[in-house]
Symmetry: C2
Subunit: 144 residues, 2 copies
DNA sequence: ACAAATATGCAACAATGTTGCATATTTGTG
DNA sequence: CACAAATATGCAACATTGTTGCATATTTGT
């Protein structure tokens, strides 16, 4: 079990690696991502932090993390935008998710299934694929 | 080639089958769907109709069509919500899309690839899948 | 410890989505 | 065809979500 101190150190390193300065907001938001192990949307940050940060700062922080390849977006069928931590294979300039996203209809949580690969899709003639997003909805392990 | 009159008649029948009254708004919006052959988002309706309908009416109309299984939503990674016409296999109570959605990075259009089947996804133990959404992004036929 | 670079918070705004209610349209019936 | 009941629409007012400019605060490298 990593202590709180170790987590904070890990986050600091991650930020420095991405050439970002280490600030309270960024540390706290990354902490939330690492603890949640699922996808978060903007409103979660206001709830989870007790709105200790300005809305604008949260938007800008998420955008920065996206730009640096620290987090990625997950497709949804509503107006919310969900974000999840990227694994090591994502970098600033080469940014793919090679895993499947699962949204539980019971608890509403969305998680990344790192072990589940996205299958190859055979497209009709004339279409060129760059990226494939798969979102499975159903009932998750914990809600079963 | 179906004439305008035939299209209007077809739309009227579709609405009556769903036990909805036939109104100008609904007819016009379905007409747009049938002509576009792709996914539309809310702002498209205001553009395409020259904002002849109230925003609220458009929102309510889309919700009604969703409820009746006439249209379905397509996942996106932004705040927009995209809708597309359902094919005949969708009904009010059994509502799946068994096809792949393709979003072109050039023209921004999203289309349903009816011929392309969604592959089976092998989930980790404990997860039950109800629905699988696949969105491929890349370059479409016309933009190639 | 300092200056330069960067991040934050506030205010003001823009865009998007929702609700209640009065008015208008559509539908089924005679 | 005319009428009443059911349904849909449009307006106003509001709630939520996301954006921009700019002054202040924090972080970083020296």
């Amino acid at each position: 079990m990593g202590s709180k101190q170790q987590l904070t150190e890990r986050i600091g390193n991650l930020l420095r690696e991405s050439k970002l300065s280490v600030t309270d907001t960024r540390t706290k938001i990354l902490e939330l991502f690492m603890k949640s192990n699922g996808a978060l949307e903007h409103s979660d940050f206001e709830k989870l932090t007790g709105s200790s940060f300005d809305r604008v700062t949260v938007y800008r922080t998420l955008q920065t993390f996206l730009d640096k390849g620290i987090i990625h977006k997950i497709p949804t069928t509503d107006t919310s935008v969900r974000y999840a931590l990227c694994k090591s294979e994502c970098t600033e300039h080469d940014h793919h998710d090679h895993h499947v996203h699962f949204k539980c209809e019971e608890c509403g949580n969305t998680v990344c299934l790192e072990e589940t690969n996205v299958p190859a899709i055979h497209l009709p003639k004339g279409y060129a694929a760059h990226n494939v997003e798969v979102v499975v909805s159903g009932v998750c392990k914990s809600c079963k």
